[in-house]
């Protein structure tokens, strides 16, 4: 249907005036002004007549007969009682609220406990993953065994020492430790009594004659050793297995930092307050659920009240 070509050019205001004029809804003043315009404007008069015809046709539309009666039978008309009566609904809402508050309290209490014991509990978990990481960086035991078997070959050790000067990967660091055995003048630091079990097996075998029980490197001049210890001062503090990587002593702290990054060792221990963070999460979730529940109840009530 292409009604557009038949649309009039009347403004909405004029259409409103004509429609109200047909229904006799204009004030006397408005009516007088419109009638003056109708006398002067034939187009407006034609529009009025067309609208009047359309309105007349609508009013003449014959009424329809309902196809059947819509009377209600008693069974059909029985008012459906809600499953829960008013007081019961109020009671259940209160119980739900108390449950929500109880769970909230439990979550808060649990979260606080986690925060209080976090330092002690975080020590072990912080070590374990890094131990595993270090084990990965050192390499599989088979490789280490192969490397240790090559100890007897001094020429190979010397060649490896030359190469190790430019290497930063952990597997090569093990070879470098062997070089230190062949050349005692090379400064080497080995941490005292590593605690990470999975990777300890290879380490003591790698340097049996090199390290004293206190972890001080033998055959190193005092001044050199002191300087090296200062240079590697942060390393012994770390009780984690990063010490197991048998990293040769770097020449400067900057070098140490870069090698530490290469090994993928976390620079700092885990934050002690980390477990306390999730404690607020249940509160937010419960608050969101309550808001959604209230919004749903409001929507259903609005829909029912429309009738």
């Amino acid at each position: 249907m292409t009604a557009n070509s038949f649309q009039s050019n009347l403004s909405d205001d004029d259409l409103l005036l004509l429609s109200s004029y047909i229904d006799d809804q204009l004030t006397p003043d408005e009516r007088n002004r419109l009638e003056q315009r109708l006398q002067a404007e034939p187009d407006l008069r034609a529009e009025l007549e067309e609208l009047r015809v359309a309105t007349m046709l609508l009013r003449d539309t014959p009424p329809l007969v309902p196809p059947r009666s819509f009377t209600l039978d008693p069974d059909q008309a029985r008012v459906r009682r809600p499953l829960l009566s008013g007081w019961l609904r109020l009671g259940s809402a209160l119980v739900a609220l108390m449950l929500a508050l109880t769970f909230t309290g439990v979550f808060i209490f649990y979260g606080q406990n986690m925060s209080g014991g976090s330092v002690a509990q975080m020590e072990e978990p912080a070590i374990a993953p890094r131990t595993f990481e270090a084990a990965e960086t050192v390499g599989p035991p088979g490789e280490q065994g192969a490397t240790l078997n090559a100890d007897a070959d001094a020429g190979a050790a010397e060649q490896a020492a030359d190469e190790a000067a430019t290497m930063s990967e952990a597997t090569e660091a093990v070879t470098e430790a062997e070089v230190a055995e062949a050349e005692p003048a090379e400064p080497v630091f080995v941490p005292p009594t590593p605690t990470a079990a999975p990777t300890q097996g290879a380490v003591p075998r790698a340097t049996p004659a090199l390290v004293e029980p206190d972890g001080v490197t033998l055959a190193v001049p005092e001044e050199e050793r002191t300087g090296d210890m200062q240079a590697t001062a942060p390393v012994p503090e770390a009780t984690g297995p990063e010490a197991l990587s048998l990293t040769p002593l770097p020449q400067s702290p900057e070098t140490l930092g870069s090698q530490t990054r290469d090994l993928g060792i976390p620079p700092a221990p885990a934050e002690p307050d980390a477990p306390g963070r999730p404690a607020g999460l249940p509160l937010v979730v419960i608050a969101l659920l309550l808001v959604m529940l209230l919004a749903g109840a409001w929507y259903v009530r609005q829909r029912r009240s429309r009738h």
């Binding site: 009604a3 229904d23 015809v53 329809l64 819509f70 009377t71």
Partner: protein, 204 residues
């Protein structure tokens, strides 16, 4: 409000179904016609009418006085809006089917007047079908306003109460709806020839 109607309403509010059914008989023609003009087919109109009376009975306690007819027509209007909204969500029938009308059904209208000739009866049905097709093309808010004003004969303030709008909105929707219906009837030649000629004569 007539005393009898008030008594029936009070009885219905106390659960008297038979009293309420007397109200149903009073208003079912008006409600069905509104639903038919809004929805465009007799099956949907019958369903909407039944739902309207059922909803009215279940919510009769909320009726606080005033015009019971307006209250019933408001429920019918909201029921029609719900059905139209559901149709938009689940368009199970084609647009052509939705716009089609069964006004030409021989049982759709009041029984013909004894003095009416068969030609006049046919013309009356043809006019009803044309009007319904035009109404089907109107936006819903204009459609309900035109139906309430020009077919149901309700005054502006009652239409405003039924549709939950202001008097200005009613006037605006009515003027636009009438103008658009006029355009549709002219453009599509929906009207029977006799009515078209009458319109032309009026226009000249």
């Amino acid at each position: 409000m007539a005393d009898e109607e008030r008594h029936l309403i009070e009885a219905g509010q106390h659960g008297d179904v038979e009293a309420f059914n007397q109200l149903v008989r009073l208003y079912e023609g008006r409600v069905y016609n509104l639903c038919y003009r809004m929805l465009g087919d007799s099956d949907s109109a019958a369903d909407a009418s039944q739902e309207t009376f059922l909803s009215a009975f279940r919510n009769l306690r909320r009726f606080r006085g005033g015009s019971f007819r307006s209250w019933m027509l408001r429920i019918a209007t909201n029921t029609c809006y719900d059905i139209l909204r559901a149709r938009k969500r689940r368009p199970a029938i084609s647009l052509d089917a939705a716009l089609a009308t069964d006004d030409t059904s021989p049982h759709a209208f009041d029984p013909p007047d004894q003095h009416e000739s068969p030609a006049e009866v046919a013309l009356r049905r043809e006019l009803g079908a044309a009007i319904q097709q035009g109404l089907n093309h109107l936006p819903e808010d204009q459609r309900i306003t035109v139906i309430l004003c020009d077919i149901q004969g309700r005054p502006y303030d009652e239409i405003a109460r039924i549709t939950g709008t202001t008097l200005g909105t009613v006037k605006s929707r009515l003027s636009r709806g009438r103008a658009r219906l006029r355009d549709l009837l002219k453009a599509g030649e929906l009207l029977p020839a006799r009515y078209r000629h009458e319109g032309e004569n009026h226009g000249t």
